[in-house]
């Protein structure tokens, strides 16, 4: 696996490494730190290969921890390392540095980690959160990457500091007492004591406490060992059975050294155990240090006594996370039972809790130390060989009682904050999650590995549900959907699911943009409605069984955000959890109400159906909108309507936009041709065309016989064709690019009498540099002024007059062209409108 990094070799005698997730802006940011430096050149960029450390079966499971370990190995040769957007990957490096005599890298700079959203949804997420904080606590500098330029000199200065640190001398000699509680482990006590006798350090003594062993041979072995190690000065004492806590407390009472090292009688000590634990304690000044463990089975020694190589096969690794009290509420992440502790710290908390029943006494001990404010950490070395024994205490005791032993220590702390029951609730949530995850018949999608997250800000995983293929050629709705996908797909990982067959010209760019695109064939079997649901026809049509299957299947993955494009997708809301957002193009019920209001005197089947549909849609909207705490609409009026009628949640304005760079440079005022661009299967547009051809265009023709009308758009039906023919207009069906049609036109008309949201055809026309003549309803929701950006006329005669004026008065034409283009440049670009939306979404996700 490859992790892209920038290496600036030999900058002022130092090897400097910039590390970032994949390529991304962090590399460029790092480059700016050295801008103008004679040592900097582009050849300094290299790729550093590193991989997560494979420890086989490892507890706790954390991909981030394994990556952090892999990175620690890779960055060792460098003097200065900058962690751009991956503070958590610095954790293992910094931990190694804390406990080593030779500190490499000399200087570590991290950018503060970005928030991971409102909740930590797994133990792995909790650990990642901790690693980020650990890195920030122990790095030399914590600064956002934007501020790194100012740190270059200081980092270089630290990079040249002496590399070797000398640990402080222990306060007593010997410095360490190894305390071994012993109960019936006759077979394993001799190898343990032998391994202790072979330690590389002699600065320790041993106290073995027999906790009232009852098994045959246990007392004899104990007596034999006592005799064997008498010359060493090691002490062997007996007591009445009081459990491992009592035995350890007894040993601590007898000890007189500065440090106490706990080791169980059935385990095995590597030769450097005492040396490294003592050195780490003296270097760091910490109060409690645990270490990593290697679990093995069998009665024999896990190490070859001559070579020191590990001979026992690994069962599992145990890499404690460190002092993470929140994760410890769920499970043991602190480490133990092997730990070196300052004796006065043990005395300060009264030693181990003397309780013979439940297990977890070591786990509880570290938690109590951490809650008491003592400094707890983990030496990142395998210094504990843990023998997997049948019938170990934690295996035969009641798990609930064991965990209660841990949780009871948190309760007073949380009670002071009024958070009654928090400890039990966190543990309960963890258990519940573990239970359902373990019993799931297929594995839950694991979070994307760190290498898949790119850039300074974590890329969001977004699922978009769209009611029709987002083909930008056909109609405003599809255009807006396409623009939304395009914007977010450039910045995040987008998976789009849309209903309807997709043509190649649309599918190809989408598949390039999105991670995955699913197009569900239109007209499949309908999905089953919730009981008692009253659903408008169009929503019902969009509630497709295959689409629901797709959404259900995809919902097994973890999504940061799901965008429901329009209310038509509202019925799928129960299939997706997490943060759900509804994007509306119109207030549909209002739009349908307007259609119903057309031709009231002579209602058509369309308008009559729209009346009923409007009522149903209104009810459906009021039921659906409150289900989305976050919505966005195209106009302020629509947003206010949604807020008012939903009663909860909030609605953000994300206005329609256009491509402001689509100006037709050779547009002329004297073409005498007017363009009517629209999706020609959309009733408000058909009505507008009827209005245009029936009432407006004859008046235009009367005043200006040479005027031409072009009707262009997707999916024209027979009605449209007949309307166009009646007016003598040229019909351009399904044009590939509207700009090609508009090139031969001088103006655009939008004589709409119904509609919702805002009309993109007006913005597109302005962007192309064509003056627009519209009704007031046609340009509602847009911040436009009559005579300044376009001409607004509602009366058919005035409308016709305005068309003639634009076609004949060059000054008016130029003024409207200039102002219109300026307006869309200033206010109506897609990037601008979706940028604000993205900012709000990130803020809502706690990543803003």
């Amino acid at each position: 696996m490859i992790r892209s990094v920038m290496v600036v070799r030999e900058l002022r005698g130092l090897r400097v490494l910039h590390l970032a997730r994949l390529t991304s802006s962090a590399i460029l940011l790092a480059a700016t730190c050295y801008e103008g430096d004679p040592c900097w050149n582009e050849e300094g960029i290299a790729v550093l290969r590193c991989a997560p450390v494979d420890r086989g079966s490892c507890w706790p499971e954390s991909a981030e921890m394994r990556w952090s370990e892999g990175v620690a190995r890779a960055v060792e040769p460098f003097h200065v390392v900058w962690f751009a957007d991956c503070a958590e990957l610095a954790a293992y490096t910094l931990r190694k540095r804390r406990f080593a005599r030779t500190a490499r890298p000399e200087c570590v700079v991290v950018a503060p980690p970005v928030s991971r959203g409102p909740g930590l949804r797994s133990m792995a997420a909790l650990i990642e959160d901790f690693l980020g904080r650990y890195a920030c606590e122990h790095a030399d500098f914590v600064a956002p990457a934007e501020e790194w330029r100012g740190l270059v000199e200081e980092a270089a200065r630290i990079g040249t500091l002496p590399k070797t640190r000398v640990p402080r001398a222990p306060a007593t000699s010997p410095a360490v007492t190894v305390c071994v509680p012993y109960f019936n482990h006759a077979a394993w006590l001799p190898p343990l004591l032998e391994s202790l006798a072979r330690q590389t350090s002699r600065d320790f003594t041993v106290i073995v406490v027999d906790d009232g062993s009852t098994a045959s041979g246990a007392q004899e072995t104990f007596a034999r060992m006592q005799e064997q190690y008498r010359p060493e000065g090691w002490r062997f004492v007996r007591q009445q059975n009081s459990g491992p806590s009592g035995a350890r407390n007894h040993a601590v009472r007898l000890a007189s050294t500065e440090f106490v090292l706990f080791y169980d009688a059935d385990d095995f000590a590597p030769p450097k155990l005492v040396e490294r634990m003592l050195e780490a304690a003296c270097l760091s000044g910490d109060d409690v240090l645990a270490c990593e463990a290697y679990r093995f089975a069998g009665d024999s020694s896990p190490l070859d006594p001559r070579t020191g190589e590990i001979t026992a096969p690994l069962q599992a690794s145990w890499v404690p996370v460190g002092n993470h009290l929140a994760a410890s509420l769920c499970d043991d992440v602190h480490g133990g039972p092997v730990m070196i502790v300052r004796r006065d710290a043990i005395q300060a908390i009264g030693g181990f809790t003397p309780e013979s029943g439940p297990g977890f006494e070591d786990y509880e001990f570290i938690v109590r130390m951490a809650l008491a404010g003592f400094r707890v950490d983990v030496v990142p070395e395998t210094l504990h060989f843990y023998r997997d024994v049948q019938g170990g205490v934690s295996k035969v005791t009641d798990r609930f009682s064991n965990h209660q032993r841990i949780l009871r220590n948190y309760r007073p702390v949380f009670h002071e904050l009024g958070l009654h029951g928090l400890a039990d609730a966190v543990h309960g949530a963890y258990r519940a999650l573990k239970k359902v995850s373990d019993s799931a018949p297929f594995p839950r999608q694991r979070p994307a590995p760190p290498m898949l997250r790119e850039g300074r800000r974590r890329r969001l995983r977004i699922l978009m549900l769209i009611p029709y293929p987002p083909d930008p050629v056909f109609g405003g709705g599809a255009k807006r959907s396409y623009a939304l996908i395009e914007y977010f797909a450039r910045r995040h990982d987008v998976t789009a699911v849309c209903l309807g067959s997709m043509q190649d010209r649309c599918a190809q760019p989408l598949t390039r943009l999105c991670q995955r695109v699913f197009a569900i064939e239109w007209g499949g079997p309908p999905a089953k409605l919730p009981p008692g649901a009253v659903v408008p026809t169009r929503v019902r049509q969009c509630f497709d069984r295959t689409m629901q299957a797709a959404v259900n299947a995809l919902s097994w993955e973890t999504w940061d955000l799901t965008i429901f494009d329009q209310i038509y997708m509202g019925l799928y809301r129960s299939s997706v959890d997490g943060f759900r957002v509804l994007g509306e193009h119109n207030v549909e019920s209002q739009l349908l109400g307007r259609i119903a209001g057309l031709n009231e005197a002579n209602p058509s089947p369309e308008t009559a159906a729209a009346g009923l549909e409007s009522k149903l849609m209104g009810m459906f909207e009021e039921e659906t909108w409150p289900q989305f705490s976050f919505r966005f609409g195209v106009s302020r009026a629509d947003c206010d309507t949604m807020d008012r009628r939903a009663g909860r949640g909030r609605t953000i304005l994300a206005p329609n936009g256009c491509n402001p760079d689509s100006e037709i440079r050779d547009a002329r005022p004297d073409c005498k041709t007017v363009l009517f661009p629209a999706a020609l299967n959309y009733y408000p547009n058909i009505d507008a065309l009827a209005h245009m051809t029936g009432e407006i265009w004859p008046r235009v023709k009367a005043r200006m016989p040479s005027a031409q009308l072009i009707v262009a758009g997707g999916n024209p039906g027979p009605v449209v064709r007949s309307l166009a023919a009646r007016a003598g207009a040229e019909l351009v069906a399904d044009p590939l690019r509207m700009e090609d049609v508009a090139r031969s036109c001088s103006a655009v008309v939008a004589p709409l009498r119904a509609g919702g949201g805002t009309r993109m055809k007006i913005l597109d026309a302005m962007a192309m540099g064509l003056p627009v003549i519209s009704t007031a309803l046609g340009c509602e929701g847009l911040e436009v002024a009559d005579n300044q950006h376009l001409l607004i006329r509602d009366d058919p005669s005035d409308f016709a007059g305005a068309v003639v004026e634009v076609l004949t008065d060059e000054a008016t034409w130029r003024r409207l062209r200039k102002n219109g283009m300026q307006l869309v440049r200033d206010r109506y670009s897609w990037d601008r409108s979706f940028h604000d939306l993205e900012v709000e979404l990130l803020r809502e996700l706690g990543m803003g």
């Binding site: 909740g119 930590l120 009641d398 009682s401 009024g418 009654h420 949530a429 097994w556």
Partner: protein, 636 residues
């Protein structure tokens, strides 16, 4: 009385089942002199909350502790896993804390709960044991002989000690006599797999099994071995104690030591090894059984005394005095000018209390908003009410500015869209003076034409609010100025809601509560940013060294819920997977077998329930049980 938990209603929020039941109970028992409530899902909640804010001393509320939800879950080896569990905890804790009297059968239960953050008023909590209302059977003077029979007492399940008992007997295999299991539901079938010779005696009534004990008192050993924290003050053990001379050993857990006494060899730690040791000691010793320390007669007497004392009790009313004006009304108005004049009118109509008003208009300059405000300002030039204009401020910042202008002891935080009842301020002030609380919120009804959903916050249940912040509620809030200032007021962020301040006040140890009255009309509250609320929790937790705990609770609970929801959808998944969605490459799904028998059972049960009314089902059930009882007796 037959009172059922009302179902969730769309017209009322938030829904907490225990709270809804307590409201129904409150109406039903209001006329009684004294009401005893059990602590599990304590139905005293609503009455206790109402009584806090009034002078009423009837009915006297007595909460009898015997094992609230927390205890029940611990005994079942479960944890709270949902907001409703935590909300129920809050209801129970609140009701017990504010009941007039709390009765605990044992000192143990009181201590157990206090360790979990329950608070009791020292002068109103009594340890009285449990009443026994039937007379023990006469027992002939027993001659002690070697143990020929072990009588296992209790349910045959893990929590009641079946595993401990079996493991202990396995340790002394071959040396123990026959075992008889006396259990409500243990038949010989259920204990067939037990690794010892066993007889099961199920379905015995109190008198029957006590008579059985009495019959075998001379040559039997009675064992009561529940696991740690799985027995509180077992009634069956007390009944067994009525059999004089019975040799009896029991786990040292719960309130059992208070029944049997700490001295002697009758108690063992609730693990196999100590039980085996205790059994061996009894087999070898066979001495006379010491008398239990628990005295049934004096326990009965204590109950009657408590009843008399509670009936005679009166709560002295008290009111903390405050200088006048006592309240500064702080109003933030932004783009809600339609509501603002209505609010001002409502404030003008307030009765019975002096207060000042500071309104901060945060609307952008120009347009109609300032004109409306200015019109109102002109009307109140002489009344001392202040109308400020600070465009662009967040609501929190506006309230902070308004609060800084006043000097009264209490701040009423209102939004321009809130509409207080005529007596709202006077009533809220009276309540806060009565209780000495630091922050009070009220219930709200919808504004005219804004639906029909009422909202009565549950209260400052801070842990549940991590999962469900709606329970805090945010309509009109009366805050003590000192608490407000010590907490640095509202966060001046656009998405910080009023509940954020409530959480901070709660985390800082200030006393919060809800006046259970609808004193305002308000629009449905828009919750503030969830992330911000979590940050508030996390800041407090970070100071205590446990950052991440709140985020972990929210994240993991949501994840567990969502996985569970998906799991429940498996049969449907199989259908869709077979249909047409193979290209998603989810074909590695292995769908678990659908349990048709359970489905059929659920279907039949649903039909049965739908077909017969509740009373008929009760009658049918009683009839069938009666017939079965008769058959059993004939067979016997």
């Amino acid at each position: 009385m037959d009172i059922c938990t009302p179902p969730a209603s769309p017209k009322r929020g938030p829904y907490v089942a225990a709270c809804a039941l307590s409201e129904a109970v409150a109406e039903a028992v209001a006329e009684f002199d004294i009401v005893y409530f059990q602590d599990l899902a304590n139905s005293a909640f609503t009455l206790a909350r109402r009584k806090r804010f009034t002078d009423d001393f009837r009915p006297v509320l007595v909460t009898v502790l015997h094992g609230p939800g927390e205890w029940a879950r611990a005994a079942a080896r479960r944890y709270p896993i949902s907001a409703s569990d935590l909300e129920e905890n809050y209801v129970e804790r609140y009701a017990a804390e504010h009941s007039d009297w709390v009765v605990s059968p044992s000192r143990y239960m009181q201590t157990w709960l206090e360790q979990r953050g329950w608070r009791f008023r020292g002068d109103r909590v009594r340890t009285v044991g449990v009443p026994v209302v039937w007379n023990p059977p006469p027992v002939a003077a027993a001659r002690t002989s070697p143990v020929r029979r072990i009588l296992y007492l209790g349910r045959w399940d893990t929590a009641s000690g079946s595993d401990t008992f079996s493991a202990a007997l396995a340790r002394i295999a071959g040396t123990h006599p026959e075992v008889t299991i006396i259990s409500p539901r243990a038949s010989e079938e259920s204990v067939r797999g037990a690794p010892f010779r066993v007889k099961g005696r199920a379905g015995l009534k109190h008198e029957e099994w006590v008579r059985l004990l009495a019959r075998h008192v001379g040559d039997s050993l009675c064992v009561f071995p529940p696991m740690a924290d799985c027995a509180h003050f077992p009634y069956s053990l007390i009944e067994a104690c009525m059999v004089g001379g019975l040799r009896l050993i029991a786990s040292r857990t719960g309130g059992i030591p208070e029944i049997l006494g700490e001295g002697g060899d009758r108690l063992f730690d609730p693990f196999p090894q100590p039980l085996a040791k205790a059994l061996t000691a009894v087999f070898e010793g066979a001495g006379p059984a010491p008398a239990p320390v628990y005295d049934i007669a004096s326990a009965n007497r204590r109950w009657l005394n408590l009843h008399g004392e509670a009936l005679d009790s009166r709560r002295p009313g008290r009111l903390f005095s405050v200088p006048s004006p006592a309240v500064d009304v702080c109003v933030a108005c932004a783009r809600e000018q339609a509501g603002f004049p209505r609010l001002v009118e409502a404030l003008e109509r307030q009765t019975g209390v002096e207060f000042t008003v500071t309104a901060v208009d945060t609307s952008p300059p120009g347009a109609q908003t300032a004109a409306v405000s200015n019109g109102i300002a002109e009307r109140h030039q002489t009344s001392g009410w202040r109308f400020l204009t600070e465009p662009g401020l967040s609501a929190g910042a506006a309230w902070n500015r308004a609060a800084a202008r006043g000097r009264a002891e209490f701040l009423l935080i209102a939004d321009a869209n809130d509409l207080p009842e005529t007596n709202a301020i006077a009533r809220m002030l009276e309540c806060i003076r009565r209780t000495g609380d630091d922050c009070l919120v009220v219930g709200s009804r919808p504004l005219p034409g804004d639906g029909d959903r009422e909202f009565l916050p549950l209260g400052p249940c801070l842990t549940a609010a991590i999962l469900d912040p709606d329970i805090l509620g945010s309509p009109m809030m009366l805050v003590r100025r000192s608490a407000f200032e010590a907490s640095h007021g509202f966060r001046e962020l656009p998405d910080a809601g009023r509940e954020e301040l409530q959480i901070r006040l709660g985390l800082a140890g200030y006393r919060l509560d809800v006046i259970p009255e609808f004193l305002a009309h308000a629009p449905a509250s828009v919750p503030g940013s969830r992330s911000l609320l979590l940050e508030t929790y996390e800041e407090a937790l970070s100071r205590r060294g446990a950052p991440g705990a709140a985020k972990a609770l929210l994240g993991m609970a949501c994840e567990a819920e969502s996985v569970t929801a998906r799991m429940n959808d498996l049969p449907y998944r199989r259908r869709i997977d077979n249909a047409s969605f193979r290209r998603l490459k989810y074909n590695h799904l292995e769908i678990s077998r659908v349990d048709f028998r359970r489905r059929i059972y659920l279907l039949l049960r649903g039909c049965y329930r739908a077909a017969l009314p509740l009373q008929t089902r009760y009658w049918l059930h009683d009839f069938v049980m009666g017939v079965l009882d008769r058959l059993r007796s004939v067979r016997a």
